[in-house]
């Protein structure tokens, strides 16, 4: 299994979070700006009515007989009528002295004659908007200044403002929802080419090293091109080493085959025992080295394949049957009978090539160690778990070595007369382990080695 890379958050989550946070901020700012703007407009509305009221009162002020008279119309106050029944106070002062109205309205020194002055104050526990203006009246003896204050509570205004805030809030919420959805989609669209690349690489089998050809966004081009060049290099290396192994095997085995054939032919003609022994030693050496080479290659292949296990549905009985057929001629040379006991197809998830190789190695051993004219039994059972048992009627495993035997390059003590590098059982065990199973070595009751694969 490849090492799992360390994870530093998710691009998608990060992007979504940033975009949603941004749209939230934007919505809040929008809310306050729109509400402030609406509040100003509403305030300006109230102010203009108050100003009209103030000016209608101040316009009514005249000096008659040296005294100031203010006979303002009813409309001066009726125009201030609101649906919230806002309270209205007024004060008319002459040179600071209250002429009429309410004392609670404080004086201000920022009175102007050309337009009204506005301020907001708390009077008698309520918030009031006060408009004020002054006018200089010129009488016969002297001139005098009349100032008018009109104050109105803001119940109606705040009611309006509340309504506006509610509407603006709803609008901003809709805006936020919309932008959040957009952010999600945008993040998804940005990350999609990445995840598509990842899943397309993941879907490939271990041997598929073709370059990635689908179009990608320009930002991903460096990643994809370095991925492609890495795969290209890997492919070349693999092909080269596969070719190399095949070529090496060919180069080594062909001359070995020549030596073996000549030795065998010569052995038929030679009678002197020392020459014969030399020839036999030669043949043994050839067999040993070729078998060792073969098993080393097999072992290398198994180590490689076990990393990228090509799992598919396989029938153990079918594999074993094919194997028995292909090894039958070898069995025949010793008049061995391969007895196959299966209860129908036994399906497991596995790599057929690895399984076949493992069974072949064990069956090879069994055929090698079994005495002439005996039986080698292969049993395939389905329950309680898929099991393949291969047993012979030879000398069996040495009892004291049974555990150590599956270690690499270890051969049993009593194997002196047979050829083998000792990798066979190691291969069998590696394959079983790669499939999550195990191999058990036992000796039969009446002698004979018995190898059981639990898969």
């Amino acid at each position: 299994m490849a090492e799992r890379p360390q994870i530093s958050g998710s691009l998608f989550k990060r992007l979504t979070a940033i975009l949603i946070f941004g749209s939230m901020l934007l919505s809040i700012v929008l809310f306050f700006v729109v509400r402030e703007f609406a509040a100003r407009i509403a305030q300006a509305g109230q102010d203009s009515i108050l100003e009209a009221s103030v000016s209608s009162i101040i316009d009514a002020a005249v000096i008659r007989d040296g005294r100031v008279e203010v006979d303002f119309p009813y409309a001066s106050f009726s125009m201030l009528d609101t649906d919230q029944n806002d309270r209205v106070f007024y004060a008319i002062r002459q040179d600071g002295q209250l002429l009429s109205g309410y004392k609670v309205i404080p004086q201000t020194d920022r009175l102007r004659t050309d337009s009204a002055f506005f301020e907001t104050r708390i009077l008698a526990q309520s918030k009031f908007r006060i408009a004020s203006a002054q006018r200089v009246l010129i009488g016969s003896q002297r001139s005098t200044t009349v100032s008018v204050y009109v104050a109105q509570t803001q119940d109606s205004l705040s009611q309006t403002l509340k309504q506006i805030s509610l509407n603006v809030g709803a609008l901003c919420l809709v805006f936020f929802t919309f932008t959040a959805i957009l952010s999600y989609i945008a993040a998804l669209a940005t990350v999609r080419p990445l995840s598509r690349l990842a899943s397309s690489v993941q879907r490939r089998s271990g041997e598929d090293l073709r370059p990635f050809k689908q179009p990608v966004p320009s930002e991903m081009v460096p990643l994809v091109s370095s991925l492609n060049s890495l795969m290209n290099r890997l492919d070349q290396t693999l092909t080269r080493s596969e070719d190399f192994i095949a070529e090496a095997a060919h180069r080594v085995r062909t001359p070995l085959a020549t030596v073996r054939s000549y030795a065998e032919t010569t052995l038929q003609r030679v009678t002197k025992s020392e020459n014969r022994n030399a020839l036999k030693a030669m043949m043994r050496a050839v067999d040993e080295s070729s078998r060792a080479a073969g098993q080393l290659l097999d072992h290398a292949m198994i180590t490689f394949r076990a990393d990228h296990l090509d799992k598919q549905q396989v029938d153990l009985s079918g594999i074993v049957e094919d194997l028995a057929t292909s090894l039958a001629p070898i069995a025949e040379m010793k008049d061995l009978k391969i007895v196959l006991r299966t209860d129908g197809p036994v399906h497991v998830e596995g790599d057929p090539i690895l399984l076949q190789n493992a069974f072949r190695n064990v069956l090879d051993n069994a055929l090698k160690y079994a005495p002439f004219e005996t039986e080698v039994t292969i049993q395939v059972t389905d329950s309680p778990r898929p099991t393949v048992t291969i047993s012979d009627l030879g000398a069996g495993f040495p009892n004291d070595e049974i555990q150590a035997l599956t270690k690499r390059f270890r051969r049993g003590k009593n194997a002196k007369n047979s050829i083998g590098s000792g990798l066979g059982l190691t291969i069998a065990q590696d394959v079983a382990l790669a499939h999550g199973g195990s191999v058990a070595l036992t000796n039969g009751k009446s002698g004979g080695a018995c190898v059981t694969f639990y898969l």
Binding site: R253, R260, T265, R284, P329, D335, I353, N357
Partner: protein, 221 residues
Amino acid sequence: MKFLLVEDNLELAKAISNRLQVDGHVVDHVGKISEAIDYFASYEYDLVLLDVMLPDGDGRTFLKHQRTQNDGTPVIVLTARSQVSDRISMLDLGADDYVTKPFDHAELEARCRAVLRRKSNDRQTTKQFGNVEFNSIEGRLSVGGKTVNLRNRELRLLEVFLNAPGQIFSKQKLVDRLFSYDEDVSENAVEVYVGRLRKHLSGSPLMITTLRGLGYRLDYG
């Protein structure tokens, strides 16, 4: 039997040919696919031994060609590779079996016999001597209508004798033919198999004669 050996390594080809000739077979040797196709078109063969890597192509090319000719001659592939996948692809393309180089000739012989047993018909492979019928492919011997299936060593021993009736075989020679070199057997082990053959052949015109100090000889008549 007549073999077509397709192998580009001259030394190996010579060694294999020699070994097959010891067993009394006839071997034609070619070193290229193109030659193999020519020979194959001109002569009849019992068996083709085919190397995988050849100078003018892959052994697979020959297999494909042969299968398009609808020819049923058995092909045994000689491969130097040991990867199972390679072997499987050869069998898929119509090779009947394969042996991995270097190979034991006894194994090659056993595989040839197994392939021929699957492929050829009975009559061509049965030899007749008086009331004796011998099918070496099936390993079947019948004397006066009574049929026995020979054990592998009995079969091989009888083949050795029948290939050269009247020739004297020393015990040592017979040991070499019957036993693998790494089997530790004395020359007397041959006596057991000669004894068994004699029993099977009793009542027939075939007789195995013991020549003291020299060996054995098959006499007919």
